[in-house]
């Protein structure tokens, strides 16, 4: 029953060739995170910077192992710097929208 023939090699699943099947969440979140952190830095909006931190965390949690960590780290550092810069420029606490 189990005549071992020359085993075939591992082939990664076809998601690489078919981009429609891939989960786009980490890419969207990465982009969103960068947009929010730029908004937070330029317009000095604290809540933007905080949302950027959240986006970069979500992108990290959903990432595929094939994605390199450099991009993740850069978006993460950008969002942290946005938060820090908005607080250095204006140390007042955030006011809730209500």
């Amino acid at each position: 029953l189990t005549e071992p023939r020359a085993p075939g090699r591992y082939k990664p699943p076809a998601t690489e060739t078919n981009p429609a099947l891939e989960d786009p969440t980490p890419d969207y979140m990465n982009l969103l995170g960068m947009v929010f952190s730029m908004c937070g830095l330029m317009l000095k909006l604290k809540w933007c910077a905080w949302i950027a931190v959240y986006c970069s965390f979500i992108s990290f949690a959903n990432s595929r192992s094939s994605e390199d960590t450099k991009q993740m780290m850069s978006s993460f550092m950008l969002s942290i710097s946005a938060v820090v810069m908005s607080y250095l420029q204006n140390p007042q606490p955030m006011s809730p929208p209500w």
């Binding site: 029953l1 189990t2 005549e3 071992p4 023939r5 020359a6 085993p7 075939g8 090699r9 591992y10 082939k11 990664p12 699943p13 076809a14 078919n18 429609a20 099947l21 905080w50 931190v53 959240y54 965390f57 979500i58 990290f60 949690a61 959903n62 990432s63 595929r64 192992s65 094939s66 960590t69 780290m73 993460f76 550092m77 942290i80 938060v83 820090v84 607080y87 250095l88 140390p91 007042q92 606490p93 955030m94 006011s95 809730p96």
Partner: protein, 482 residues
């Protein structure tokens, strides 16, 4: 590695906070010292002035209560000073006589009297107050982040435990059936790693190979995204379950030509829309499985009735009935090419490549709240998979069935060619035009007029020949038609 980065980054946040807060106080101290020196010259002249001016600076940073009283006192002193100035002229260096300021001693009484006026409390900016309470939004945010990180770690570990529970139960069966269990494609030689290949925090792969009939089997454990808090919250609204997807690639000679699927009705309807082969070969709607002795929850999609008859033997029916709750879909296809590709018009010039495949999708019981025991309960399903592999090898269509199958495949190919006929024609046309243009350019670029003339003549002759050929063909067709 990823965890290490996370922790370092999390430490940054409170550190930067403390930096931002203390900067203000340092600046305040500097200003005070500077003001002290500024007003030092007034020390002899009037003690009140000296004591009150530094206080004026302090009030902005101390409690609100002290602020107003000192301010008002200071204002009145200032007025008195101005009056004195206008009276005497040069005021800064001259010592003041008590006689000159008769109303001066009354000043404290006057200021006390004025205390009865309503006190307006100055609003000290929140960031200068010495309390953390005003930063409650920030604390909320940081708490949210910490909650996310906690959930990430917990979810990742749970998925990991579930994966390994599955693997430990199935390892024996797999190793007895396959020569190579576990290969991540990185080693030069095909050696069995005996481990799951973690693609993601929620997807684990296992490649098994080295068995008769099949080229290989790829098992994907597709867990729910427990590591992402957003996903966890979304699942509270819409429950979903973990899935185990098994894709067996058969050798060409080990499987006959047919397309067949069985599974839950919902899954089959979705697959019929999405999958290239099911949509092309199985035109009917999924039929209820009750006809073949299956529970009502399962339906059957098939190219020909004969295939269903052949597939539904006693053992298969037993498997499907017993584990109906765990089965999402089972698909046997010799024309498997994955889901329909969304392509723009004009790009589709070739049929997608097909492989003989058996595709199984199982739902892990527990609907999200899975435990390692649930993963272990999938073991009989793996036996079913092995049985199906052997069955697919043994099952052969009879002559009629084979003819029908061949006809179907020829029909599909013809349809495809018709669809792309227009595109292929256009492609051929454009190629011919390109050739002509290239020729013309060559002729134009020829500087020697003699050569030009010769090339032109050659081109003309070629065109004439072509025309003649066409005319001959038309004549032949006409003769044949007659």
């Amino acid at each position: 590695m990823k965890n290490l980065y996370l922790f370092i980054a999390v430490l940054f946040i409170p550190w930067s906070f403390s930096l931002a807060k203390y900067d203000e106080f340092e600046d305040g101290d500097d200003i005070m010292e500077y003001d002290d020196n500024d007003f030092a010259e007034f020390e002899d002249v009037s003690e009140d002035a000296v004591t009150e001016s530094p206080q004026r600076v302090i009030t902005t940073e101390d409690d609100e209560e002290e602020a107003t009283v000192e301010l008002e006192g200071q204002d009145e002193n200032q007025e008195d000073f101005d009056d004195a100035d206008t009276q005497e002229g040069d005021t800064e260096s001259e010592p003041y006589d008590d006689e000159e300021f008769e109303g001066y001693e009354e000043k404290p009484d006057a200021s006390h009297g004025k205390n009865k006026d309503p006190i307006t409390i100055v609003n000290v900016p929140a960031h200068l107050q010495n309390s953390w309470e005003s930063y409650y939004m920030e604390i909320l945010m940081v708490t949210g982040l910490l909650a996310y990180i906690m959930n990430y770690i917990i979810g990742k570990n749970k998925n990991n435990r579930l994966a390994h529970a599955w693997f430990n139960t199935h390892r024996e069966l797999l190793e007895s059936n396959f020569a190579l269990v576990g290969d991540d494609g990185t080693n030069k030689e095909a050696t069995s790693t005996g481990k799951l290949n973690q693609e993601n925090e929620h997807i684990y792969n296992l490649w098994c190979s080295g068995r008769v009939c099949c080229e290989g089997m790829l098992i994907q454990l597709k867990f729910l995204k427990r590591q992402d808090l957003l996903n966890v919250l979304a699942r509270m609204m819409r429950p979903a379950s973990d899935q185990v997807q098994i894709k067996v690639t058969m050798n060409d000679e080990d499987m006959d030509t047919y397309v067949f699927a069985v599974g839950t009705r919902k899954a089959l309807v979705r697959l019929q829309k999405e999958m290239q082969d099911l949509s092309e070969f199985c035109s009917d709607k999924p039929k209820s499985g009750a006809k073949y002795g299956l529970p009502d929850s399962l339906a059957v999609l098939s190219e020909m009735g004969e295939v269903t008859e052949g597939m539904m033997d006693a053992k298969m029916i037993h498997f499907l009935t017993h584990y109906a709750d765990k089965i999402d879909s089972v698909q046997f296809s010799d024309q498997f090419s994955g889901p329909k590709l969304m392509q723009e018009e004009g790009q589709l010039t070739k049929l997608p490549e097909t492989k003989k495949t058996l595709l199984f999708t199982f739902n892990v019981p527990g609907s999200g709240n899975t435990s390692p025991k649930d993963m272990e309960s999938l073991l009989p399903l793996m036996s079913m998979v092995i049985y199906c592999i052997d069955k697919a090898k043994k099952f052969r269509l009879n002559r009629e069935g084979k003819q029908k199958a061949d006809k179907n495949r020829a029909r599909v190919e013809e349809n495809f060619l018709k669809l792309t006929h227009v595109q292929r024609q256009e492609a051929a046309q454009s190629r011919r035009e390109e050739k002509k243009r290239a020729e013309k350019e060559r002729i134009m670029n020829e500087e020697d007029p003699e050569k030009q003339r010769r090339l032109e003549e050659a081109a003309l002759r070629r065109e004439q020949k072509k025309l003649e050929k066409k005319q001959m063909k038309m004549k032949q067709i006409k003769v044949k038609a007659m």
